[in-house]
């Protein structure tokens, strides 16, 4: 009798161990997110979204979706990432357009990154697209993709695009060593989106679809869109730095040791880099004395590192290999405007 009991117990524990360790799916198509994977057209319960100011990743286009378990809701938060239910999957496909002047010519899909929330928290995965561009396969250790496309001016561009390995995912996506999403906060999310049926505010849409709760009646203003010229330079620059830098440059982030913090909430001028001396920048300092010298962009390390493509100098360290030509003048103008 005892033997049988032991045996059953063993069987159950093995089964439990296997199901807990449930390996991530091998192919992107195995998740059934898409109606048409080759065109990135989602199924009804996979909701596409956009954020106010996105991270610059070498001019890639990004197709973002969130899939949540049926009947479960996320909790709204203006300044923090929504509290998503277990089973949520955040999906982001990176792609270069064939021709940026005519998007109808299609895209070259590079990778699709997933953040999956299970009982023990979030974990990151990356799926790399195949030659035929009809599916993507799980890869933990990253890959180099030499990509080419035609840019908005009709000039052929090329890039040594790096798919991050799983540790590198954690480098940006961790807060106090816990993996977290970065974008889906109220302040980044409260914008309109062009759904197939029309243009609707994302928060209103999620509310109506019963995907989001705890939404305040009067919501605070969303983050500025970094290239929206109707906004002030200050708001645009801080929004850009928040989404491009603050995931590491905040307390508890990967660059927490620098004491240089760029999140929108930061109000201390020294933490924001004003007249702050570099500590461990090495040649990243570019011979300059201050992280930000108010009024003097050409004497500010921040701009120097943003404008560099030398891996030992440039910032951000990951997910960038090219200069963001359109953002450099914005940051320059902002620094020059600080008294």
């Amino acid at each position: 009798m005892i033997k049988v009991f032991n045996f059953l117990f063993l069987l159950i524990s093995i089964f439990a161990a296997i199901s807990l360790n449930a390996s991530p799916k091998k192919l992107l198509s195995d998740y059934n997110f898409f109606e048409n994977i080759e065109k990135q057209i989602p199924k009804e319960n996979t909701i596409p979204y956009h954020i106010a100011s996105p991270l610059f990743s070498d001019y890639t286009y990004k197709f973002r979706f969130i899939s949540m378990p049926d009947g479960k809701l996320a909790q709204y938060n203006h300044d923090k990432v929504f509290n998503f239910p277990i089973g949520t999957k955040i999906i982001k496909t990176f792609a270069y357009p064939i021709d940026d002047r005519d998007l109808s010519r299609g895209f070259q899909f590079l990778e699709t990154r997933l953040l999956i929330k299970n009982a023990s928290g979030w974990f990151p995965l990356s799926y790399i697209w195949n030659e035929n561009q009809n599916d993507a396969e799980l890869k933990y250790i990253g890959k180099t993709i030499n990509a080419k496309w035609i840019d908005k001016n009709g000039i052929e561009q090329s890039n040594r695009y790096r798919v991050p390995n799983i540790n590198q995912c954690g480098s940006c996506h961790n807060l106090n060593k816990v993996i977290m999403p970065i974008g889906p906060k109220g302040r980044n999310f409260d914008i309109t989106f062009f759904y197939p049926h029309g243009e609707v505010n994302q928060i209103d849409y999620w509310k109506e679809k019963k995907k989001l709760e705890n939404i305040p009646a009067n919501r605070k203003n969303p983050t500025a869109v970094w290239d929206d010229v109707s906004e002030t330079i200050g708001n645009r620059a801080r929004a850009y730095l928040d989404i491009n830098c603050a995931h590491c440059h905040r307390e508890g982030g990967s660059a927490g040791n620098s004491g240089f913090y760029l999140s929108l909430e930061e109000t201390n001028n020294t933490n924001l880099g004003f007249m702050k001396k570099p500590v461990a920048a090495g040649r990243g300092s570019g011979g300059l004395k201050y992280v930000i010298k108010p009024g003097k962009s050409e004497e500010s390390i921040l701009l120097y590192r943003m404008a560099s493509t030398d891996p030992g100098v440039m910032m951000p360290e990951l997910s960038r290999n090219m200069k963001h030509k359109e953002a450099i003048p914005l940051i320059r103008e902002w620094i020059d405007s600080i008294n």
Binding site: I141, Q168, G170, N257, A280, S285, G287, P311
Partner: protein, 412 residues
């Protein structure tokens, strides 16, 4: 029938146990070695040993490890070489973000940025590791060789660090640190302990750097108020490489030819060191003199206990650019031990007192090693009354020696 089923089940269990066992497969250099090593680092399980074979591995991208309790070991610091000469991405050679990792017997060469960065680890050991920029000291070299930061229980033993454009061995914002029997050459700073608590720097050899051993505390950082650092039994000689740090970095202020330099900090003990032939100073104790708005920061060193060191031929050619306050008041050869004499203003008025510098016996060929207090406070506030003080008897005394550093249980 039943028996057979049991047998199969047992085999199955054994299989699970086997596949979960520590794996130990030696990785050899070759075109696939980046993928092999990075995979091994990602799929490692606690307790695993990753073996690297003899030879030169060439990498274009940085490596990273985020699994606790993993050992990476080569066949020797001159036999297993990870070369990043062709590095195209990644800001460092190897990044470690997990706890209780042991690195042993290999070298990292010519990284585009730092060689080995360890962030936020509880327990990290570097044993017989070499980091080097092979084209000699150059401004374009990476900043740090061995670079644990915001970590606890840090062991650096029998390592070699050459050519870093900031510090060869740099421990920043960390706690419980031992740097033992290591060699630092041709770096701007040989060994640097910065904004850290409870460190032992014992038995090392710092030669041909700009500064041999530095203990700094800097403002505007999450951890500051560095204290309890023992610098003992080190050989700090011939530090004669011109400062080649990119401008803007604080280490760029290290005077050419500095033996041991202490900036800010509290409870520092410097004893039994052999300090010779450093052009600006043998031992230099200074306050942080840059502007800062950090109200929590204490720029003035306190309780610096210097005893039983042997000093010879230091201060023979003071770096006028970086150590102007010394050369301005001391023509010719400077004393072996130099303190800037900066104190809080109420202390200068005599309203409070503190044992800022405490000297025991320090030796030289001629007998006792000489000392100077530059009295910079008086120089700044009452220049007409300024005098240097070379009477070391005024600073004579003793402080209880620092307790030895003990790592947390289960570490190393």
């Amino acid at each position: 029938m039943k028996k057979k089923f049991y047998k199969i089940l047992l085999n199955f269990i054994f299989l699970i146990i086997l596949t979960n066992q520590a794996v130990s497969e030696t990785i050899k250099p070759g075109p696939q070695s980046y993928e092999e090593i990075q995979s091994a680092l990602i799929f490692a399980k606690p307790g695993d040993i990753i073996d690297l074979d003899e030879g030169i591995f060439y990498f274009e991208d940085g490596l990273s490890l985020n699994v606790d309790d993993v050992t990476i070991q080569g066949k020797g610091m001159n036999k297993t070489i990870l070369s990043f000469k062709n590095q195209k991405s990644g800001a460092e050679g190897l990044m470690i973000t997990s706890n209780k990792v042991v690195l042993k017997d290999f070298a990292i060469e010519d990284t585009i940025g730092d060689a080995i960065v360890v962030k936020g680890a509880e327990g990290i050991s570097f044993i017989r590791i070499r980091t080097e920029w092979t084209n000699g000291p150059k401004e374009t070299n990476g900043a740090y060789g061995l670079y644990p930061v915001q970590s606890k229980d840090v062991l650096i033993k029998e390592c070699i660090a050459i050519g870093a454009s900031d510090a060869g061995i740099y421990v920043g914002q960390s706690e419980r640190i031992k740097v033992l029997d290591s060699i630092a050459k041709f770096n701007v700073a040989g060994i640097e302990i910065e904004n850290s608590y409870y460190a032992e720097v014992i038995g090392n050899h710092a030669e041909h750097n700009t500064g041999g051993i530095l203990v700094f505390d800097l403002p505007d950082l999450p951890q500051q108020g560095g204290h309890s650092v023992l610098i003992a039994k080190n050989k700090v000689i011939n530090n004669d490489t011109k400062n080649f740090a990119p401008e803007g970095n604080i280490v760029g202020k290290t005077p050419n030819g500095t033996g041991i330099m202490i900036m800010a900090n509290e409870n520092i003990e410097v004893r039994d060191n052999d300090i010779r032939n450093n052009a600006t100073a043998g031992i230099l104790i200074v306050s942080y003199q840059e502007e800062t708005e950090d109200k929590n920061y204490n720029p003035i060193p306190n309780k610096i206990y210097i005893h039983n060191n042997f000093l010879s031929n230091n201060g023979y050619d003071v770096d006028k650019k970086r150590a102007g306050p010394i050369s301005d008041v001391i023509p010719g050869k400077a004393p072996e031990i130099i303190w800037d004499g900066v104190t809080p203003i109420i202390e200068w008025f005599g309203l409070t007192s503190s044992d800022r510098i405490v000297l025991g016996k320090n030796f030289s060929e001629e007998g006792e090693a000489d000392f100077v207090n530059l009295n910079l406070m008086t120089k700044y506030l009452l220049p007409r009354f300024h005098k240097i003080d070379k009477n070391n008897q005024n600073y004579f005394g003793s402080i209880q020696s620092l307790k030895s550093v003990n790592f947390s249980e289960g570490i190393n």
